[in-house]
Structures are given as structure tokens and as C-alpha cells.
Subunit: 710 residues, 2 copies
């Protein structure tokens, strides 16, 4: 048969290349859009330089970390170098570095295009909403295409070259460790700047958002790029790689078993086929995206998502029929996609200003900030239920659907769950495009304000910005749901790795034979011990990040105060009185880099410590507790943050007293609390749970032979 | 042998009776303390009537619920009445009602003494701190002795009369269902009144706390009684019963197995012995508690706790030696007690105003309320780690310590965990005494202010009140830790119940034999499904309670505004202008009763729904997820609430600008958010997880035979 694994790997490479070309074409399209305003050019140069400075410093710090990690991997993984073979360790270390480099490149591309597209969208807004929307969206689409094609290309190349799924986990770990720090660092930067700018600008002095007198205003715009574009890109690159890696680990193992039994096997082929088809669907979605003059940008963005979703369902069905794949697995993948949509809609319900939650919180603002916080936290907590049920039901359904394959097989069932995750992430190209659109038009709005392009342009970019915020809730729901299913699948992958390691140990053991593990039973106190600690980690992790933002913002607020005090005429807006923007950028950069390391390291060290104390059973519990509480906190924080943001905007639109009313002041407090919730801690937890699962899988062998109470 | 089970049951009854006598003696002691002030008598009558009105209304509502529940139990439990024998169902229903009545009586006793002791403590404060302390403490001790003796007496009688451990679970469920509603209802009442009084009084009008012009001031004092005395009493009555019930379910089963094998068995005897000894130690601790004139009340309270702890360790060691109990089980019980102390100390660290967390949050208050909230939430999240590790380590250690008994037995290991919980709760008599002391002296402070007893008396009651707040953190840590260990043990009890039900089904089955379950494996998707939903329940539950407080407080704030507007001269404090206190009490009462039912019912219904969908495996996961996230949220909310409370007080003591500074305003926002965290949602979660475990255990049979995807 010609439609074998290699065929689909080559297909994946071809479609990745096509997506790269699409990205390039979109890049050029954005680049040739007109831009002539001198003032905007100056400001945008400041933003671009700031973003690049941050990225350079961040990558310099992280490259040190990654080299140390690579050296550790070289010595210890997949087996200590003095026990295993050196070649395997070299492959592992190189795969890891490969993962970090791919992730860094994706982030860099995103920053490059975002800092061009913001200018184009700003300038286009003077002519009309259609052109401005296209600049923003196509800028975001460059990022979307670049991230997805590089993740598919990377995964395909690693498997093709090494023919080794553990190397795939190494590649995935490289992507995750970069994402962990990029997301945390970017998140701290962006919220430091955002909060400080708002606090002094809007609250203390009453000057508008994006006012050029504010020394933190450029840092705030830089933050949108490094947090929401580069950080988010690294995050979804990581999720996408992890979901494919988890699915492939299981698919290759199933294929091996099938071949050994003399049957045809196409599970791994199917993973590549579905991933390639998902990318194709996203390409079509991106290229056909249009908006009429005077149209609704939210509708345009959502339409693209639904078109891509539908296309994916149809194309994968066609492929399943044509290539004789399993309809059960197809079903699992479609279940994943549908549940993604449901989770997105639930997030939307709790953050949309036309729905009861935002309305209730806005009303509570009239009683003062304490009620804003209490009601916002309450609705945020409530919002976790539908998504938790959705993830639980989809995992259960995918499992039950695929269990009958291979005559009642847990392996197929777990593979089904991993394919639900692949399904949910299939349209990730579209998701990233929509998501990166947000910070670009947010920046464009800032440029319009600072460049004084007039009220009409401001109104247009405002409406584009607001669409970005609304769509963000849906895309975040997708990202969290997919991470949830992926890590459930990774729990299965962890068990496979442990059992493979047991097999190897038994093969060389002269004495006692170790039993394979059948699962992680919560009645086992080692599992429960891990479970309790694993559940506490996301709480500690998000607390560390938020305190980081807090400390950093306090530093920056002092600097802003200093500038307003020491630079004559700045407060009054006298001509020639220019703030020292770069000082603020420097504080945000240095602070973020200082604060991002401890939280990330804590996560990795905690995993290793629990393994040393309680062995693989404790690690199984640890991963489980980490997933459960991680999902809970990620959903809670993202949704309540989004809710407060929209509550403030709803009040600003003239409700409950409008701008500068007491309700508005309370709303601003809610928004400030929500900022690090939704843009620093919440989305970083995703990555944190993936990192824990991967660290655990990679170090499984060590905990088997070395632990205190396992 | 004369030291058989009956001996220790009789001993338990005797010591319970002794404790009742002690409670009565203390009650009389408090009652004969002098009180002569007419103004205070009037106000205290208002408080007493308000508390009694609430309690009557609450018990009326709950009695309807309990009768319905008893009817359902009569029909369905332990087996549907048409399948099992009627006698068993009657015993079950009666045990259940017995549990609710005992719980209600304990609450009623608490309210009676608390509303006398507050007057005595207030009056005594004009003479000196020593006498005032003794009135407050001995008032609290009445509650402590009453709760513990009635729980020990109830458990002993139920087992003695029915000789049936499932009936014991029924009794425990009765206590839990009362506690769930009493805690939630009392918590909503107290925080409605507290927040509303503060918001209008302190924040809007700038009048002092406990100012008699404030229409909500009496409701606030009533709230201390119904929330912190009656609610807390029901909560700890429930925890204490549940821990004994879980231990006895396993002990009786182990004893049965031993006797069948012809060995001597004294596990159940040991549970009674330890519980009786714990009560004895608390009695000694309570009766020997003293404070010198000019002494430190915090030190006095903590000294009592440590005396009792030491006494318990020594007495149980002596009993273990004298009666030939297992030293391993003794070890497990002492581990529990020690970890309780550690958890208490950790809570203390995060809420003590001499430690870095409170200091850091107080500093953050200078930057405004958003930073108060962000840093408080962060430290609250961090504070969960030591306690989670403590609970995990103690469960692991107790398990490993007891596993070798019976030649490597999971049953003994789980029994060890349950005895760790019994150990942690052994000194609960002392804990309740300390805890009930808090609201009594808080009330006394209010009476001193309203009765105008002078600055010296105010100073004394202030210092007594502040000691109550500090000690509260430690006792809350104990309560949460004990609930954690108890529900882990209940998870074991649930498995035992399921396997017993499987045995029965197999015995009557003509066809297929059902396998016993070995545990709850998270790789099983039914377990994981339950896990995810179980984890979301505490989030939803606390959100519902907090929104209840929010809604209710908004109603009360409007009423206070109305009174200040419509009653001439009230705001200015003219003579003869008296607010309508009872209107506010009525709003708090009706609102609390309306809001307490949905959250409680949701919990029970969710448990049943998950069982129907996924069978016993999903229920096992559900209980597990519920425990893990319940502990996390209970710790987070209790600790951040306590932290904000003490931050505000620290600022009020003259730091960061002192009273009425911007930092103080931010601190008040934090305190208001923290109020329902620490006094409504946080402590109710304890009860919620116990209820879920008990409902699951009791309905195990039903889910075995009737479920959709199990």
C-alpha cells in the first residue's frame, strides 16, 4: 500500500511548507500596506525596539537554562549515560534543543509581524474598518500559520529522523520549557506595564488610556506583543506539539503491536493525516477570511472559526473513508472539537457583557470594589463547572468509543483521548490567528491615540479591539480544554513509559522481577500523597507569578511617579516634554526576567522531589492532582479576569454612572485584579501542567529505581 | 477479659456524662457572675432574641428537609424497602434523625450560653482582664464540652443499641446534613450583617464599629452567635462524629475478621478508649485554664491547647500500655495530632501580623485596593502548600505505619489513617472552647461600646477579641486538617461499603458474579470523569454561598440607607432616635434561610447524578476530586480571609498611615472580601466534603445496580 506512514509524513511536510508560504505571502501583504505617518513610525519603532530588547534578554537568559537542561538530559535521559547508549542520549538532548529553538523562532516571527501589522492597521483605520481589520487579522494569521506549520514540521522531522517516540517527548519538553518561561515572563512584563500605566495614568491623574504623556505607555504596548503574541504563540506551539507527541507515542506503540500480530496498522499515519488536514483547514479559513465595510468584526472572526471547524470535520471524514482509518478514532477527534466549541461558549457566557454574569458584577460595582471582587470571584468559580464537565465527558466518551478497538483495549481507549485532544487543537492555526489579532489591533488603537489620527479612526480601532477581547474568551477556553485532554493523554503516556522502563529493568535484572503497573489507585497512599501536593502546585505557581507582577508593578509605579515629578511640563502636556519611555521598558524587562525563573524551576523541582519521595505511584498522583487543580485555576482565573475586563468596559460605555463614577472606580479595581489573573497566571498554568507531565514521563526510569517510600 | 468493647463503651458514656456535668457547672459559674448594667441588659436581650428567632426559623426549615430526607432513607437505605428488611431501614432513618437532633441541641446550648457569657464578659471588663477572660473562656468551654460529650455519647449509644456500623454512618449523615445547612446559613447571616454594618457605618458614614446608631449593629452581634457559635459547633460536632464513625466502620470490620480467625480483637475498643481519653484531656485542659491579671490572653489560650495535646499523648500511651493496644495505631493517632499542630502553625504564619505575609499585604494597601486583593489572594494560595503536604505526609505515614499489622493489610492501613483523624480531633473539646471564646468576647466588646462602659473596658475587650482572632487561625487549621484525614478515611469506608454490597448482591444473584473493587484508578475514565466534576463542586458551592451573602448584603444595605434617611435624628445621634434593629435581623434571617438551601442541595444532587452516570468508580473519583479541591479552597479562603482581617487591624494600629488613610480604605476592601471567604465559604467546604462522602457511602448499593456508563 502506498498510503503508508511515510506517505503521510511527507504529506505533513508538504502542507507545513505550504503553510509557511502562506505565512510568507501574508507577511508580504501586510508589509506593502501603506504607512506614511511620521509620528506613528517613530512610536512604532519604540515599540518594536522594546519588544526586541525584551526578547533578546529573555532568550539570552533562557538559552543558559536550556543549555544546562540539555546537559542534564545528555547525562541522564533516557537512561544514565553510563548505563544506556550514548547515541540515545545525544538524540534526546538534540531533540530537546530543537524544541526550544523552534519555539523561539515562532515567537520571534510573531513579534516581527505584530510590530508591523499594528502600524498598518492603525493607518488603515483612517480609511475604514474593512482594511484595518484585514491588516490586523492577516498579521495575526502570519503567527498562526508559522506556529502550526513549525510544530507539525518539527514533530514530523523528529520522528522521521530518529524513529523514536521518546525523542518526540524530548522535543515536546523543549517546547514546553520554553513556553513555561516565555508565557510567565511575557505575562509578567505585560501586566506590570498595563497595571502601572493604568494606575498612575487613569486612576491617579485621570488621563486617557494610551496617552503619550504616560511614561509607561510604550511599555504597555510592548507588553501586548511580548505577552499576548510571543508568549501565547509559545504556549500554543507547546500545546500543539504535546498533543501530537502524546498521540504519536501511543499510536506508534499500537502500530508496533499490530505489526507484531501481522495486522495492518495505520494509527500513526492517521495522527499525521489529521494534523495535516487541520492545518489545511486553517489555511483555507485564514485565506478566505473577509469582512464587509461596516460589518461586525466579532462575527467575522467567529465565522472563520466555524468555517474551519466544519471543514475539518468534513475533510477528516473524507480522509477516514478514503484511507480506511477507524471511524471510532474519527469520532473521538470530532468529540474533542465539539467540546472545544462548548467550552468556548461557556467562557463566552461568563465574560460577555450581554449576559447575566457581567451585568450582575457591573451592578455590584455600585456597592464598591469589595462587591466587584466578591461577585467576580464567585462567577469565575462557577464558570469552571461546564468546562470541567465538558472535559470529563469528552474524555469518558472518547475512551468508551475507542475501547472496543483491538478487542477491548485500554491502549486504544487512551489513544482515543489523545485524538480528542488532537481534534480540539486541529484548528489551532485559526485560533492563534484570532488570538494574535487581539494585541495587534490593541496596539493599533494605541498608535491611533498617540498619533492623533482622529475620532473616527479611534472608534474603528476601538470596535476592532473589543472584538478581539470577546473572541479571546473563546480561544482561551479552547486552549485550556485542549491542554486538559492532552495531559490526560500524557498521563497514559507516562504509564507507558514506566512500563517500558520496567520491561528494560526486568530484562537486565538477575534477581527479582518488577511487576508492571496497571494504573494509579487513589486508595494507594503514595498516589494520594502525590495527588494532594500536585493539586497545591498550580496554586503556588500562580501565587508566585502574581506576586512577581505585584512587586514589579510597584517598582514601575515609583518610576512613573519620579518622571512626572522630575520632568518639567510632562503632566501638563507641554510641547517638548517627553517621558523616558525606555526606563519603564527596562524595569518591566529586568523584573520579568528576574521573576519568571523561580516559579518555573519550582514546578520542575517539585515534580522530581515527589518522585524521589514516593516513586512512580506518587508521580502518577502528582500529575493527576496537578491536572485537576490546574484546570480549575486556569478556568477560574481566565474567566474571572475576562469578566472584570468586560465589566469595566460595560460601565465605561455609560452604564451604572459611566466613566469616573464610583461604580467605574470599583470596576477599575476589578479589572486590575483580573489583569494578572487572565494574562499572567491563568494562561501560564496550561503550560505548567504540560511541563509536569513531560518531566515525569522523561524521568520515569529514575523514580523506579531510586525513591524513598515507593 | 473484662476490658472488652462494652467496657470502653460504658467508659465513654461515663466520661461523656462527666463532661456534661462539667458543662453544667461551667454554665452555672458563668450565670452567677455579676451583671447589673440596665443598658447592656436591654441590648443583650435584643441579641438573644435575634439569635433565638434565627435558630427557630432555621430549625423549622431544616426540620422539613430532615423529615423528607428521613422518609427517603426509610424507603431506600441501606437497601430499598421492598428488597431488604424493614427493620434495618427504620434503624437507619431513626439514626439519621437522632444525628440531626443531637446536632441541633448542641447548637442551641451554644447559643444559650454565648448570649449570657457575652454580658458577663462585658461587665467583668470594667474590673479587669482576668475576670473578663474567664467569663469568655468558660462560656466557650460550655459549648466545647457539650459538643464533644454529645458526639461521643451519640456515637456510643447508636453502636451499642444497633450494633450496626451502617447505622453509625446514618447518624453521621444526620449530623453532617444539619451542619451543612447550619454552617452555610449561619455563615450567610453573620457576613450579611457584618459587611452591611461596616459598609454603611465605617466606610460611608465614618462612625465606629458597634455604634448603636447603626441599624445593623445588633444583627452583626447576633451573627457572631449564629455563625461562629452555633454554626461552628454543628461543624465540629459533624467532624468529630464523622471521624469516629469512619474509624469504627473499619475497626468493627477488622474485629470481625480477627474473631473469625480466632484472634483477640480490640480495635473498636481502642477507638472508644482514645475518644474518651481525648475528652478527658480536654476537660482537664478546660478546668485548669487560668490567666493572671495583666497576662496575655493569646498565650493563655495556646497554653491550654498545648497542655491538652501533651496530656492526650501521655494518657493514650498509658492506655495503650495498660490495655495492650497496638503501638502502631497509637503512633498514627499521635502523628495526626502533631500534623494538626503543624497545620495550625502554618495558618498562623500566614495570618499573624508579625510575619512577612501580613506585612507585605499591608504595604501593598498603599498602592490601592487592587494590590490588597492581589497580594492577599497570592499569599492565601501559597498558604495551601504546607497544609496539603502535612495532610499528605500524615496520611502516608499513618498508612505505612499500620500496613504491617495483620501481616500487610490495606484495611489496617486505612484504619491507621482514620485513627490519625481521630487523633487530630481528640482535643476538639479544647478547640471548640477556644473557638467559641472568640465570638463571645467579640460580642462583649460590642456591648461595652454600646453600653458606654468606658475606655479601659474597651481596651480590655479589644485585647481579648484580638486574641480570639489569632487563635482562630490555629483552630481552623485543625478543623480543616481533621476533615481532610477523615474524608480520606471515609473514602476507604466507601470502598468497604461497596464491597459489602457486592457480596450481598453476589449472594442472591443467580447469574453472573460481580468482582469486588480494589480501588479507584485514575486511568479508568469513569474515575477521572468523577474526579474532574468532584473538583469543580467546592468551587461552585463556595460561589453560591458568596453570591448569597452578596445579594443579602445588598438588601440589607438598602434597608440601612432607608433607616438613616427616614428616622429623624438617627445619623446625628439625637436622643430618642432609635434604629429599627429587628428589621435588619429579619432581612439577615430570611435571606440566609433562602440562600442556604440551594448550595446544600446542589452538593447532594451532584453526588447522586455522578453516581447514576458513572457508577461507583465515578463516585470514588468524585469523592477524591472533592476532597482535594475542597481542602485547597477551604485552606485558601480561610487563610486569605484571616490575613486580610489582620492586615486591616495592623493598619488600624497606626501603620501605613493608620485609620482613615488610603491604605486603611484599601485594607477595609480586603477585609470585606475576606469576610465571606473565611466565615461563610471556607469553613462550609469542610462540611460539604464530609456530606459528599457520607451520601456516597450510604447510596453505594444503588449505584452498583443502577448506572448508565459504569
Amino acid at each position: 500500500m502506498v498510503f503508508n506512514l511515510q506517505f503521510f509524513q511527507v504529506l505533513s511536510i508538504i502542507i507545513s511548507m505550504l503553510a509557511f508560504c502562506t505565512a510568507f505571502w501574508l507577511y508580504r501583504w501586510v508589509e506593502v500596506q501603506p504607512s506614511s505617518n511620521q509620528r506613528i513610525a517613530e512610536i512604532s519603532k519604540l515599540i518594536r525596539n522594546g519588544a526586541n530588547t525584551f526578547l533578546t534578554k529573555e532568550y539570552r537568559t533562557l538559552s543558559r537554562f536550556c543549555l544546562v537542561a540539555a546537559a542534564v538530559i545528555l547525562i541522564f535521559l533516557p537512561a544514565p549515560i553510563w548505563k544506556g547508549n550514548i547515541a540515545a542520549n545525544i538524540i534526546m538532548a538534540v531533540s530537546y534543543l530543537f524544541g526550544t529553538v523552534f519555539s523561539a523562532i515562532a515567537g520571534k516571527i510573531g513579534i516581527s509581524i505584530a510590530t508591523i501589522a499594528n502600524v498598518k492597521a492603525a493607518e488603515a483605520s483612517t480609511k475604514g474598518i474593512k482594511q484595518s481589520f484585514m491588516s490586523g487579522f492577516r498579521g495575526g494569521a502570519v503567527m498562526g500559520m508559522a506556529v502550526v506549520s513549525s510544530s507539525l514540521l518539527g514533530v514530523t522531522l523528529v520522528l522521521l529522523l530518529t524513529n523514536n517516540t521518546t525523542a518526540l517527548l524530548g522535543f515536546s519538553f523543549g517546547a514546553s520549557s520554553m513556553a513555561l518561561f516565555a508565557k510567565a515572563g511575557g505575562g509578567i512584563f505585560t501586566k506590570t506595564a498595563d497595571i502601572s500605566a493604568d494606575l498612575v495614568g487613569k486612576v491617579e491623574l485621570g488621563i486617557p488610556e494610551d496617552d503619550p504623556r504616560n511614561p509607561a505607555v510604550i511599555a504597555d504596548n510592548v507588553g501586548d506583543n511580548v505577552g499576548d503574541v510571543a508568549g501565547m504563540g509559545a504556549d500554543l506551539f507547546d500545546s500543539n506539539v504535546a498533543s501530537m507527541a502524546a498521540a504519536l507515542v501511543m499510536a506508534v506503540s499500537l502500530d508496533g503491536a499490530c505489526k507484531a500480530a501481522g495486522q495492518t496498522a495505520n494509527n500513526a499515519a492517521m495522527v499525521f493525516c489529521y494534523a495535516a488536514v487541520g492545518l489545511l483547514a486553517s489555511m483555507v479559513g485564514v485565506m478566505t477570511a473577509r469582512m464587509k465595510e461596516g460589518g461586525d468584526p466579532t462575527l467575522a472572526l467567529n465565522t472563520n472559526t466555524y468555517v474551519t471547524t466544519g471543514l475539518y470535520g468534513v475533510l477528516t471524514a473524507a480522509a477516514t473513508w478514503a484511507f480506511g482509518f477507524s471511524w471510532r478514532i474519527w469520532g473521538a477527534s470530532v468529540i474533542g472539537l465539539l467540546v472545544g466549541v462548548i467550552i468556548g461558549l461557556a467562557s463566552d457566557y461568563f465574560t460577555d457583557d450581554k449576559r447575566p454574569p457581567v451585568r450582575a458584577v457591573a451592578k455590584a460595582c455600585e456597592s464598591g470594589p469589595a462587591f466587584t471582587i466578591l461577585s467576580g470571584i464567585s462567577y469565575g468559580l462557577m464558570s469552571t463547572l461546564p468546562s470541567m464537565v465538558g472535559i470529563g465527558v469528552s474524555a469518558l466518551a472518547a475512551y468508551k468509543l475507542c475501547y472496543p478497538m483491538g478487542g477491548g483495549s485500554v491502549e486504544y481507549a487512551m489513544f482515543g483521548i489523545s485524538m480528542a485532544a488532537v481534534g480540539m487543537l486541529s484548528i489551532v492555526g485559526m485560533i492563534i490567528s484570532n488570538d494574535a489579532y487581539g494585541p495587534i489591533v490593541d496596539n493599533a488603537r494605541g498608535l491611533v491615540e498617540m498619533g492623533d489620527l482622529g475620532d473616527k479612526a479611534l472608534e474603528i480601532t476601538d470596535s476592532l479591539d473589543s472584538a478581539g477581547n470577546t473572541v479571546k474568551a473563546v480561544t482561551k477556553g479552547f486552549a485550556i480544554g485542549a491542554a486538559g485532554l492532552t495531559v490526560i493523554a500524557l498521563l497514559g503516556a507516562f504509564m507507558s513509559e514506566v512500563n517500558a522502563a520496567i520491561d528494560e529493568l526486568n530484562a537486565v535484572s538477575a534477581g527479582a522481577i518488577m511487576d508492571k503497573i496497571a494504573g494509579f489507585d487513589v486508595i494507594n497512599p503514595n498516589v494520594f500523597f502525590g495527588l494532594l501536593i500536585g493539586a497545591a502546585i498550580p496554586a503556588l505557581f500562580s501565587a508566585m507569578l502574581m506576586l512577581g507582577v505585584d512587586r514589579n508593578a510597584q517598582r514601575m509605579v515609583s518610576e512613573i511617579h519620579r518622571q512626572f515629578k522630575e520632568i518639567p511640563g510632562l503632566k501638563e502636556g507641554k510641547k517638548g516634554a517627553v517621558p523616558e519611555y525606555d526606563k519603564c521598558i527596562e524595569i518591566a524587562t529586568d523584573g520579568a526576567i528576574k521573576e519568571l525563573v523561580p516559579a518555573g524551576l519550582m514546578t520542575i523541582i517539585a515534580t522530581l522531589l515527589v518522585g524521589v519521595v514516593g516513586g512512580v505511584q506518587s508521580i502518577g498522583g502528582f500529575i493527576t492532582g496537578n491536572i485537576v487543580s490546574g484546570l480549575l485555576f486556569a478556568l477560574f482565573m481566565s474567566n474571572s479576569g475576562g469578566l472584570w475586563d468586560n465589566t469595566k468596559k460595560y460601565i465605561e460605555a455609560g452604564n451604572h454612572g459611566g466613566k469616573n463614577s464610583p461604580a467605574h472606580k470599583a470596576g477599575v479595581v476589578g479589572d486590575t485584579v483580573g489583569d494578572p489573573f487572565k494574562d499572567t497566571a491563568g494562561p501560564s498554568i496550561n503550560t505548567q501542567i504540560t511541563v509536569v507531565s513531560l518531566v515525569a514521563s522523561l524521568t520515569a526510569t529514575i523514580f523506579l529505581t531510586f525513591n524513598l517510600f515507593g
